[in-house]
């Protein structure tokens, strides 16, 4: 029983990682006041670029970084459209997602000569890390040790992002830009510079997330392999009210749904029905969060002294 449980928990950590990484990216843009559903497209770009470059170079870590940077380029296009040309961020996000879906399929065919999915023996997966002391612990060892570096990186990123946003002047400025752009501008902050940086950062993190999908537990790229995980990450941001710890919790919830999905399929339940689970959980989580919000608004306001992290003017 404990083997099954530790296996499940380890799987949760693994499947939650892409959602957490992209979610942290989405969180930063959300805090900067940009509505970012292009996470899906950024992830897909990163996933493809990482596999293609790993095939080219034979080095998965280098490909991972380069893939994330290429995803940044996609984020740059999004930033250009939304900030420079004042495009509606939702429509532009849909455009980016389509562009990423088309470009990756197109380039896979043209450059790699594959249709549907691509893999080669030159593509090696990300290395796994064995944690020295933790590995020897009876139960936790099996849960925590032996993941790819990205899993640990994502976990470390949570307090780092939290600290940066709430304890450094750069982070405070970023939140000010998101909460009240006009006031921030009056105070001399360059609003669009902060927002551009936030979008590029979300591109980088989402690119890593995508690379974790294509190089983390499998070593292949398939058409539209992100399968809505970017939107799930976006929901994690909404669910967590753009607070890092809550986004972490949400990513674990969605990771759990996905990990359970893989396991239940083995018991002869129709796969099509089981595969719905992560999406249903996502809708349920979003709804639960919004219902809570609804009740909170109706309840008399107590003077908490802490401002809300995301201003009410952002429709989420």
């Amino acid at each position: 029983m404990s083997v099954v449980l530790s296996g499940l928990l380890a799987a949760v950590l693994r499947t939650a990682t892409p959602i957490l990484l992209a979610g942290l990216g989405g969180l930063i843009t959300q805090q900067a006041g940009v509505f970012n559903i292009a996470l899906e497209g950024f992830m897909l770009t990163g996933a493809f670029a990482a596999v293609a470059l790993a095939h080219l170079w034979g080095n998965s870590l280098l490909a991972l970084l380069a893939g994330a940077l290429i995803s940044c380029v996609m984020a740059g296009v999004f930033a250009l459209a939304v900030l420079r040309f004042r495009a509606d961020s939702i429509i532009a996000g849909i455009g980016i997602n389509l562009l990423a879906s088309g470009l990756t399929t197109y380039l896979m065919r043209v450059w790699l000569g594959s249709v549907g999915s691509f893999t080669s023996d030159r593509v090696t997966g990300l290395p796994t890390l064995t944690l020295p002391v933790i590995k020897t612990l009876p139960f936790l060892g099996r849960v925590l040790s032996g993941h790819t570096p990205l899993v640990y990186f994502a976990l470390i990123l949570v307090p780092v992002v939290s600290f940066s946003l709430y304890r450094t002047s750069l982070g405070m400025n970023l939140r000010a830009v998101g909460e009240h752009p006009d006031a921030a501008r009056t105070a001399g902050l360059r609003v669009n510079a902060y927002r551009t940086a936030a979008i590029l950062l979300s591109g980088f993190f989402s690119g890593l997330a995508g690379a974790h999908l294509s190089l983390g537990y499998v070593t292949l790229f398939s058409e539209d392999m992100t399968a809505g995980r970017g939107f799930v990450a976006f929901t994690a941001v909404v669910f967590g009210g753009a607070r890092p710890v809550l986004v972490l919790a949400a990513s674990w919830l969605f990771g759990l749904a996905e990990a359970v999905t893989f396991r239940v399929q083995q018991f002869g339940v129709p796969p099509a029905l089981v595969l719905m689970l992560p999406y249903l959980v996502t809708i349920g989580a979003l709804l639960a969060r919004m219902i809570m919000e609804d009740h909170r608004k109706k309840a008399p306001k107590a003077a908490s002294g802490f401002p809300e992290p995301v201003a009410d003017c952002h429709q989420v």
């Binding site: 900067a32 004042r86 799930v232 129709p270």
Partner: protein
Amino acid sequence: MERRTVAESNIPLARVRLGQVTVWTARQALVLLVAFSLSTIILVLARQDVVGAIRALYGGAFGDLWSFSRTLRWTTPLIFTGLGAALAFRAGMINVGLDGQLYLGAIAATWVAITLTGLPKLILLPLAFAAAALAGASWAALAGWMKVRYNANEVVTTLMMNYVAILFTDYLVRYPLHAEGTAGESVATVNIAPQAHLATIIQGTQVTTGLIYALVAVALVYCWNSRTVPGYEVKVIGNNPRFATFGGVSVARRQVQVMALSGVLAGLGGAIEILGVQGRFITRFSNGLGFDGVTAALLAQNNPVGVLLGALFMGALKSGGLAVEMFSNIPRAMVTVLMGIVILTVTVQGGLRLFKRHTGGDA
């Protein structure tokens, strides 16, 4: 922050109509020009035969009667999803769940057409359409209700509901409605009753009476938008929901209704795909008709007659894309790339907004 399009301004319609149409045409032509140029750059960078590709694209879409029929065949469902997207946009709602609604409509119509096989055409067809409309409407209205009641972002819910709906049809086709002898990628239901097939209007092609229904839908939506009270109220809601509230419009109710209508259109589009072209429900039969409809609506700036042109353009891309893949070594995915660029360029035209919405941009 008051940026408005001509369509949003209060100038009486009759006076601006000509100018409006000219501006619209010029702007959309520019958008398409930019999008095509950017795609060309991608093709050139990938060292591909651009002239050959454009020739194949055009030939495949309009080259001969057969190609043009194929364009019309794709235009038909796109008119439905395009109208659905445009209706929702007009009310300030973003319905990107058209794919899911289309699938549910298609499976509902299929179910009627394979179960009630004893009924005559005149009863069976309306029943199939009604089932499709109901399925699409309820799925879309659910997302609309979650939006107006709990402010659950409809982009996220409708997208997630796409996956749920499509997987649900997968399940239905693989288990309760499964036809013997079909498996794998092309698992399907049994064929629909012969009298449920829509009549072909161009001999030897897949252009059916579905196209006529689509044109009727354009006319109906046009009239609803411009000649009825709910249609007018929806326009006010899309422009300024608070103003609409002060004016005594029940915003929430109208928005849910519009989502339902949007779902009805998508569902009917699915029904016409099955009854007109497919003849049975094959899993994953639709190749992104929902998002193509969104693109058509964006190009049309939500005008129903514009949707007709937008759908024709998208249909031509779909039909031509097949030819490009066949006669050159450029994959069809290039069309998706083009669509993405079109959507991006449609929204960046000088900050003109399709509808007001408090999004992240300098709100």
